[in-house]
């Protein structure tokens, strides 16, 4: 018996699988998470993987959370330790009273365990080797066998797992039956040889509701389909590649002409990021909705074209799935570290629209909206996801679409409008909103043609190096950016239960951890109003929120508090009133981390000075 009472918890614990990359564990681990969902219990899984193909350590963490907390929690209640290479670190990460599940085929010295945890050994290799002769089968089915053992230990319903296997191998009866057989090998061994269930248990519930389980990248790609994107040009880079791959899959499903089988889309894997954004800009210039997906290094390469998009006013959509930088950084670790790079991408005076979805549902909505915004504003729109949203499955509300919606193609002057005698000046601000009209190539035999260039030009697109003409154009671009404030998604504010002079600003994938942290902070006696920023340029309500609070914490996942910098820069406020709360080790920020950082700061604010000595 361990010297610490074993953790006892129903539907609220963290299981972490430690595996070797390339061992085929991913599908079994994901099936574990999905099986819990089928019990009606929310889960929040995270894949922590190395930037190589085989051999290095990989982890898959499943937070089982009846309360529905979707941020990372921190700590591990049960470690499924399948990687000898990381054994010591894995054992050290288990919460006191937690559980260690391991392959006990070979005996381990007692020094390799801890006294305050419960050790559960299953001779996985022995079971596997006695059943299978093929080396690949041995490797793959070992994963299913440990899934079976865990199902018994956690009191999971095997029928629900069988159902999942049935869905996965529909039409492949041999694979289906062999997987079910492996599941029961592990399950039966555990039931016969171990005390099942343990303190951690999964109990059927109804807390999942109609929510869906999807990766942000897939949702964003579907948003591009619904948003009318017809041209996608991309270059492979982690963690964004699955956006283009998902777009391809969605298009194959939804975008083929049923009569001819022809594609109502074009997808090109560019030779690099420069070509990808060039194709996007060329297609958008010619009136198609186009996008690319990339990550920080790709944005760096695209910046010259992004400047062209800004100055020549050509729509473009860039989905930036952020990872830890700078340079190659940690390619498979998450951060929100491209805020400044994207907001001011390219040389000269530029400003770009950024959208910050918090989950896959918003990734879908914002991706679709990005194409309307790009055409309305005739500029680059960045959809700012990160690896944590993009490559992990998330529970989120179902995706919604209003069938009455028409695409906003922005200010496009047609042949009819030109024939009516409308004054077409490509860079004329006819409506005072900074947004000019454009024409598509081929519109009219004699009217509306213009020359697009990155060099300065006048309101009628005529080349000009006159200083006043240049300044006039740059001022109009500022007006256009101000117009954008009211077109982009507005911030969402949630006030504390009691009046408070403290606030917190956050965005994107920090959202679920922040929501949970608020509860933890309340238990410490701290009340905070919240503002979730969903886009740049900042809506006027951001300035109002800052004015209404003495101190505002800005929580983000980068070293230099980049959103805070942007707020200070764009709002011209005293930086002292914005307290940075940053997390940047490449793992997703947790509620515990946020609550501690803000809580400690709040505690300092509440310190009462010692009474002055009376002389």
């Amino acid at each position: 018996m361990p010297d610490k009472k074993p953790i006892s918890s129903v539907n609220d614990f963290v299981v972490r699988f430690a595996n070797v990359n390339g061992s085929g564990s991913a599908s079994a681990n994901e099936m574990f998470a999905r099986a819990i969902l089928r019990h009606g219990v929310p889960v929040s899984p995270r894949n922590i993987f190395p930037s190589n193909i085989q051999g290095l350590p990989t982890w898959y963490e499943v937070r089982v959370t009846e309360a529905g907390h979707l941020g990372a929690r921190g700590g591990v209640d049960m470690m499924v330790a399948m990687n000898p290479q990381t054994w010591d670190k894995d054992i050290a990460g288990i919460e006191p009273g937690g559980y260690l599940f391991y392959d006990s085929t070979k005996p381990m010295p007692s020094t390799k365990f801890r006294d305050d945890i419960t050790v559960i050994g299953v001779p996985l290799t022995a079971i596997t080797n006695s059943t299978y002769t093929d080396p690949r089968q041995r490797q793959l089915f070992k994963n299913i066998i440990y899934l079976g053992s865990l199902s018994a230990l956690l009191d999971m319903d095997p029928k629900l797992i069988e159902q999942l296997i049935g869905e996965q191998y529909k039409g492949k009866e041999k694979l289906l039956s062999s997987n079910v057989h492996a599941l029961h090998l592990g399950r039966d061994w555990a039931l016969q040889n171990l005390k099942c269930p343990i303190g951690l248990r999964v109990k059927k519930s109804d807390k999942v509701g109609d929510r869906i389980f999807i990766e942000g990248n897939s949702a964003a790609a579907l948003g591009a389909v619904y948003g009318g994107a017809t041209v996608c040009a991309w270059y492979p880079i982690t963690p964004s590649s699955s956006v283009a791959e998902a777009f391809t899959a969605h298009c194959k499903k939804y975008r083929h002409d049923p009569a001819t089988g022809q594609a109502k889309y074009a997808i090109v894997q560019g030779e690099d990021e420069l070509a990808s954004i060039g194709i996007v800009i060329g297609a958008s210039w010619n009136g198609a909705r186009a996008f690319t997906a990339t990550s920080g290094p790709g944005v760096s390469l695209m910046t010259e074209f992004i400047g062209l998009s800004y100055f020549a006013e050509i729509p473009a959509v860039i989905m930036n799935i952020q990872r830890a930088g700078p340079s190659t950084g940690m390619p498979t670790r998450t951060q929100q570290c491209d805020i400044i790079a994207c907001a001011y991408a390219s040389h000269g005076d530029t400003k770009h629209v950024l959208l910050f979805p918090e989950d896959p549902a918003e990734a879908f909505e914002f991706a679709a909206a990005a194409f309307d915004l790009a055409e309305r504003l005739q500029t680059t729109i960045f959809l700012m996801l990160d690896l944590d949203i993009g490559m992990n499955h998330r529970l989120c509300r179902p995706l919604k679409w209003d069938d009455s919606k028409q695409y906003d193609r922005g200010k496009v002057m047609t042949a009819e409008m030109l024939d009516e005698g409308r004054d077409f000046g490509r860079y004329l601000d006819v409506d005072g909103d900074g947004i000019p009209y454009r024409t598509y190539p081929g519109t009219h035999p004699t009217k509306g043609a213009y020359f697009t260039r990155g060099t300065s030009r006048d309101r009628y697109a005529r080349y000009s190096e006159e200083g006043s003409v240049y300044a006039d154009n740059m001022q109009r671009l500022v007006r256009k950016f101000e117009t954008a404030q009211d077109l982009v998604p507005r911030p969402l504010q949630a006030n504390a239960a009691k009046p408070t002079k403290y606030g917190v600003i956050y965005f994107g994938s920090t959202s679920p951890a922040m929501d949970e942290a608020i509860g933890l902070l309340e238990t410490r006696g701290h009340q905070l109003d919240r503002l979730r920023i969903r886009a740049f340029p900042f809506h006027s309500s951001v300035a109002s929120f800052l004015a209404e609070h003495d101190f505002v914490y800005v929580v983000e996942q980068n070293r230099d508090s980049q959103l805070r910098q942007l707020i200070v820069n764009e709002n011209g406020i005293d930086p002292v009133r914005l307290v940075p709360i940053v997390h940047y080790d490449g793992t997703p920020i947790t509620a515990r981390y946020i609550a501690k950082a803000i809580g400690d700061h709040q505690d300092h604010l509440k310190v009462t000075p010692l009474r002055k000595a009376v002389s």
């Binding site: 389909v225 041209v231 889309y265 090109v268 194709i279 800009i281 210039w285 035999p445 080349y463």
Partner: protein, 351 residues
């Protein structure tokens, strides 16, 4: 790029083509390039070819990069949309534009600095993708706008205006285009309009990646003794493999050249290229032969011009991607959006 607009007056007696357009309808702004620049001759040839083909000017999209050559689209087809993109990146912008609307004619104009240095990759990949375009490199072997540095097409041993000898090997864009699978490959000389005009016309009619390298002497920085891109040098070393005529229309093709010296190539758009062979052994359908021929003559210091290779059955990028005939830029929500019912099904699959 100029402040000076051409007068709109048209002489009433100007000859008109099938569409009723005159040469003036194919012109653009007044060139600001140096007097005598080879690029202006290429501009004139483009105007002539488009006039002869009776192309509607506004149905052409003219796209370029940065540099002297890339300024030229402003000087022709004034009723066409033009795009001066960024240095060396014309091919990707053109590719995107072509994907958006397959119905327009795409004319890519580039320079040797643009295509053989900073944009070498984009040049190569647009060719290998088979983008339906006419890609013209106005090749003067020198950086004119930055005043005289060697470009990557400058021949080894050639001299700059300042007398510096180039020690780097030259990139032969024609050889590269052949190797990469261009389905229409030609070389010409800006001073040989009779050869260049039909080449451009044939390239426009070709459905696939057409590439024309045009030696175009830089009057300011590369037209001196020691240069291999000067007017004199090219005239002296030009070895044309063929002369051609482009025949468009429904009338029977009448070829009045002696049998055995003329080859007619019919293209996808119905146009016919009548090739008058000058070199009796030259076969423009033999990609490997063209490469060998080119290399052999290059070793002798000769500049081979003419239509070097053509595949009349070429396919373009749209065929490779199997895209719909309707231009992608004209598809709207009712065609593109799967709708809420499909989304409900998608949601259901994720539970």
């Amino acid at each position: 790029m100029t402040y000076i607009a051409k007068p709109k007056f048209h002489h009433p007696g100007l000859k008109k083509n099938e569409l009723g357009y005159t040469h003036r309808d194919y012109e653009g702004k007044i060139s600001t390039l140096c007097a005598g620049c080879g690029h202006d001759s290429i501009t004139a040839s483009i105007i002539e070819a488009c006039y002869e083909l009776s192309i509607e000017p506004h149905r052409v999209a003219k796209i370029s990069g940065i540099g002297c050559s890339s300024k030229t689209p402003d000087y022709f087809l004034g009723n066409s949309h033009g795009f001066n993109s960024v240095h060396g990146r014309m091919p990707s912008v053109l590719t995107g534009a072509n994907l958006a609307n397959r119905d327009l004619i795409y004319l890519g104009v580039s320079g040797d600095g643009d295509s053989a240095s900073i944009g070498f990759g984009q040049f190569a990949h647009s060719i290998r993708r088979g983008v339906n375009m006419t890609y013209i490199v106005e090749n003067n072997g020198v950086y004119g706008l930055t005043k005289g540095q060697f470009s990557a097409t400058a021949d080894r041993g050639s001299k700059s205006k300042k007398g510096v000898t180039n020690t780097d090997n030259a990139i032969d864009l024609v050889a590269i285009a052949l190797q990469l699978g261009a389905t229409f490959v030609a070389r010409s000389f800006s001073g040989d309009k009779s050869q260049l005009v039909p080449l451009i016309a044939a390239a426009i009619g070709h459905k696939g990646a057409s590439f024309i390298d045009v030696i175009s002497p830089c009057i300011a920085f590369n037209n001196h003794a020691g240069s291999t891109k000067s007017f004199d040098y090219v005239r002296e070393h030009n070895d044309a493999v063929n002369r051609l005529d482009v025949l468009v229309g429904r009338d029977p093709i009448a070829v009045d050249y002696a049998p055995g010296t003329v080859q007619v190539v019919e293209q996808h758009d119905g146009s016919k290229i009548a090739l008058r062979k000058i070199d009796a052994d030259y076969d423009p359908h033999d990609r490997l032969g063209a490469q060998t021929f080119l290399q052999k003559h290059a070793a002798k210091g000769q500049i081979v011009t003419g239509l070097l290779y053509v595949d009349p059955d070429a396919e373009d990028l749209h065929a490779h991607l199997n895209t719909v005939e309707t231009p992608l830029n004209s598809l709207e929500a009712d065609t593109l959006c799967p709708g809420s019912a499909a989304l409900d099904k998608f949601n259901a699959s994720l539970r």
